[in-house]
């Protein structure tokens, strides 16, 4: 199975300096954070769609299609009916729909979708080694950088292991879908124990293998790939800075908020 989302392409975005890519992820999260008003989020969404097209990241978006649909749909719907502001269009007990609640629900759904999209784009265009380098340049200690990048590699392995364990218990007649919400969570104990034990074993093996490959010999390891800062990096950085600033200004001027009138 694939253990990371990186898609090996030779695009402008792939070639960017790792620090710029980490900054890009930060800039996207920053911009999304400041605004709630759906039309204000649209340009950012279009920008990400363009990057997805440019980088050929659609296979990863397809991979996460259910996550997108489920989270965005449930978030939008939940906020639409639970947001209490604005003049009601429909108002019955426990159910309040207004123009503001529709906008708020849509905004929340879009924000979530854009946060996921930014993460998918980042992982599709950034190798784990680049993540390490990008974070190091931002002053994060090497061991912490490496641990973060290793975690990205381990998650799919654990998911794969968990799926095998679910299969194993299903074949012994175990029904994971039985009972209510809490009962179902409880029913996952037979999965969690082997996953946890397997994760400990795998982490132990990895730690030994890392030490045996001289990990930790120096606090400042060298890097095999040279990442010179190019003109394109400066342009990308300036653009992202401008986008981040623009979105902060949208917030600051009150144009990113939902009107309750």
């Amino acid at each position: 199975m694939r253990t990371n989302l990186y898609l090996d392409r030779n695009t402008f975005v792939h070639r960017l300096h790792p620090t710029v890519k980490v900054f890009a992820l930060f800039a996207m999260f920053w911009s999304v954070y400041w605004v709630d008003y759906p039309p204000a989020l649209v340009p950012l969404g279009i920008f990400m769609l363009c990057v997805a097209q440019l980088t050929g990241a659609w296979p990863n978006f397809y991979l996460f299609r259910w996550l997108f649909m489920l989270t965005v749909f449930t978030t939008t719907l939940t906020w639409m009916i639970s947001f209490r502001g604005g003049a009601p269009i429909v108002s019955i007990p426990f159910f309040h729909v207004s123009r503001a609640s529709i906008e708020y629900g849509l905004g929340r759904g879009m924000k979530l979708a854009e946060l996921i999209a930014a993460s998918v784009l980042f992982l599709s265009t950034t190798k784990v080694e680049e993540l390490t380098i990008g974070l190091r340049r931002l002053g994060v200690p090497y061991r912490a950088c490496f641990a973060i990048s290793l975690a990205f590699r381990l998650v799919p392995l654990f998911v794969d292991s968990a799926l095998t364990i679910v299969d194993a218990q299903t074949l012994r007649g175990y029904d994971f879908s039985k009972g209510g919400f809490f009962e179902r969570i409880k029913r996952y104990v037979p999965v969690m124990v082997p996953v946890f034990m397997g994760a400990l074993r795998k982490a132990n093996n990895m730690a030994m293998a890392l030490e045996a490959r001289a990990f930790g010999r120096t606090s400042e390891p060298t890097t095999y790939i040279d990442y010179p800062v190019l003109g394109s990096d400066v342009v990308a950085f300036a653009t992202l800075l401008a986008v981040g600033t623009l979105y902060f200004l949208i917030y600051y001027t009150g144009r990113g908020a939902i009107s309750l009138k």
């Binding site: 199975m1 090996d8 784990v128 012994r172 093996n205 001289a214 095999y224």
Partner: protein, 598 residues
């Protein structure tokens, strides 16, 4: 420019003649009742290859970890004795300081690859020691050349085969140019092709002067070592050349090591001594029994016919057929019928293509083939873990499509390769009763079934034991027991002996055979030729999602061309038999045939 695949080795300390020196090494794990290693001493000369063998838990991996300071730096315990590399004691050094001197390759190849492309992976250790970029670039190509991965620089390591991954792990330690490489069961998880790749590489490295310590269960693979060490309960109980150590067949078996087939044949024929190869064994036997030469001429299959016809060899089978298991029963009403099955994972290529297969009541079927050939995918369709893209699977005459996976548990059970994927309960008894409880069986019935099953797998005295404290062999038997309580008519075992020593394999296979004799049909996915030869009655060979062969074990091993193109090497007794123009599946069969004609 160096010649192809020539690698640089750290210059040996001119003052020392030894690559590795171990003196009075004793180690007890924290909380351990007895030492895992006890008073181990040996010395390895530069360029020497030492093979280390022994049963599971004999201390082999512990010894390997002591050679690069994983013990005592990483694993806590009481460490005594001295380990020297190139004459210098390792005491007080950290693991990462030893890494440039001693390269270590582990069994779990997935856990030792950290990067997103092959070149990065090789560079990883060099980055850690702070090497300059130019030097790294100068070392990557020779390291990849040495392991035969030239041209793979930009490949994602996760896309490589098991053998390639393990070769990449070796390249990544070679790049630091250590003087010693320790390989801890490097081929346990590999298919025969991957195994052959890695051992070919080991021989190449040895020829280039690297000092190697290789830990392995299969003695055949270590026949080319300079020296062999046998460990039992943490202590060295035999040490010497392969010719000296590998002729003590009883001792090897006692120590959980599979004795070489050829030496077993020698012993049974009263020849004695050590066979270094099939050619050597053949010459030795015909010298002792010249009458075989005329028999050989009669049975000889012409070279031109050998590739097309396997009948001649199969027909010349030994006369001891009566000792063989009976052939599979009638398939007029098969337990499992697979019709034109095709399957592909989402966004992936076809994994199965038009497979037809029938499994009868009481059958014993081995499914073989390289990693990725579709063996496990096929087996998962039988129990309903996967749904066919086209075709259908009938279980007991009913279409699987209309049944949920859990509903098939009483018809067909599946034991996963890793028992730890199944085990979760705090006691053996609870683990075994989990299945019947899910089906709401009565308490008395559950208890009766648990008693019966625990007795059959030899765990009746461990009812209250914590499953995670059992040995791997016991955990695998527990995994089998936990599905047997549902009394399935078919038991599917996915590589049930991976990582086991010889004794554990024999115990496991005796259990499986006994279950088969009691009427349970067995489907066993395996990479081990001698298990197929000795235990199965029928073989299905998969290649690239297609069923390439389905027939009796004898027919399979008689088809030398099929075996060759499938990278499936028969047991050595079978290969030696073929030199005489006969087909023998075990050393005993071959010896019986020889004695009859000599």
């Amino acid at each position: 420019m160096k010649t192809e695949a020539q690698i640089e080795i750290a210059a040996a300390n001119p003052l020392s003649r030894e690559a590795v020196g171990v003196e009075g090494l004793t180690f007890t794990y924290h909380g351990g009742e007895r030492p895992a290693l006890f008073d181990v001493s040996f010395s390895q000369a530069h360029g020497e290859m030492i093979g280390v063998m022994g049963a599971s838990g004999a201390g082999k991996s512990t010894l390997a970890k002591c050679l690069n300071r994983i013990i005592p730096e990483f694993e806590d315990g009481d460490f005594r004795g001295v380990v020297r590399i190139g004459g210098a004691p390792l005491a007080d050094l950290r693991i990462h300081d030893v890494a440039p001197m001693v390269g270590m390759v582990f069994q779990d190849f997935e856990a030792q690859l950290f990067s997103t492309n092959v070149a990065h992976e090789v560079a990883f250790a060099m980055e850690q020691v702070g090497m300059g970029r130019d030097e790294m670039n100068a070392r990557i190509a020779p390291a990849l050349d040495a392991v035969g991965l030239h041209g793979f620089e930009h490949r994602d390591p996760t896309s490589l085969s098991g053998g390639e991954k393990q070769r990449l792990a070796i390249a990544s330690v070679l790049a630091l140019r250590p003087s010693v490489i320790v390989l801890d069961e490097p081929t346990t998880d590999l298919d025969p092709e991957g195994k052959a790749e890695v051992f070919e590489l080991i021989q190449k490295l040895r020829a280039q002067g690297l000092s190697l310590v290789v830990i392995e269960h299969e003695s055949v693979e270590l026949r080319a070592s300079d020296r062999v060490i046998i460990l039992r309960e943490g202590a060295i109980i035999a040490e010497g050349t392969p010719a000296k150590v590998m002729t003590g067949l009883d001792l090897l078996e006692e120590c959980g090591v599979h004795p070489p087939d050829l030496n077993r044949v020698f012993q049974m024929l009263g020849i004695g001594g050590h066979a270094t190869s099939i050619d050597h064994a053949y010459l030795e036997i015909v010298t002792r029994f010249p009458a075989l030469l005329s028999v050989r001429a009669e049975n000889l299959v012409p070279a031109s016919a050998r590739h097309d016809s396997t009948v001649s060899v199969a027909d010349a089978a030994p006369s001891c057929q009566s000792s063989l298991p009976p052939p599979g029963r009638s398939l007029s009403h098969p337990l499992v019928a697979i019709e034109n099955l095709s399957f592909a994972y989402p966004n992936g290529p076809r994994v199965l293509e038009g497979v037809n297969l029938a499994i009868g009541e009481g059958d014993f079927l081995a499914i073989v083939g390289q990693n990725g050939s579709g063996k496990t995918t096929l087996a998962k369709h039988i129990v309903g873990l996967l749904k066919p893209a086209s075709g259908r699977v009938l279980l007991g005459g009913r279409d699987r499509a209309g049944m949920r996976a859990a509903q098939t548990a009483r018809e067909a059970a599946y034991v996963f390769q890793n028992p730890d994927h199944q085990i979760f309960a705090p006691s053996v008894e609870e683990e075994v009763s989990f299945g019947p409880r899910n089906f709401g069986l009565a308490k008395d019935d559950i208890e009766r079934r648990c008693d019966e099953v625990l007795r059959s797998v030899g765990l009746e005295n461990q009812r209250q034991s914590d499953p995670f404290l059992l040995s791997k062999g016991e955990r695998q038997r527990l995994a089998v027991a936990s599905v047997l309580t549902l009394r399935p008519r078919l038991l599917i075992l996915d590589e049930p002996t991976t990582g086991f020593d010889y004794r554990e394999i024999r115990t496991m296979m005796a259990l499986i055979s006994e279950l088969n004799r009691s009427g349970i049909a067995i489907v066993m996915i395996t990479h081990t030729p001698w298990l197929v030869a000795e235990y199965a009655r029928r073989v299905v060979l998969m290649r690239r999602g297609r069923k390439l062969f389905d027939g009796a074990v004898r027919e399979f091993f008689a088809d030398t061309e099929l075996l060759r193109t499938s990278s499936f090497r028969p047991p050595e007794a079978t290969e030696l038999g073929q030199r005489f123009g006969t087909l023998a599946l075990t050393p005993a069969e071959l010896v019986a045939w020889i004695k009859e004609r000599a």
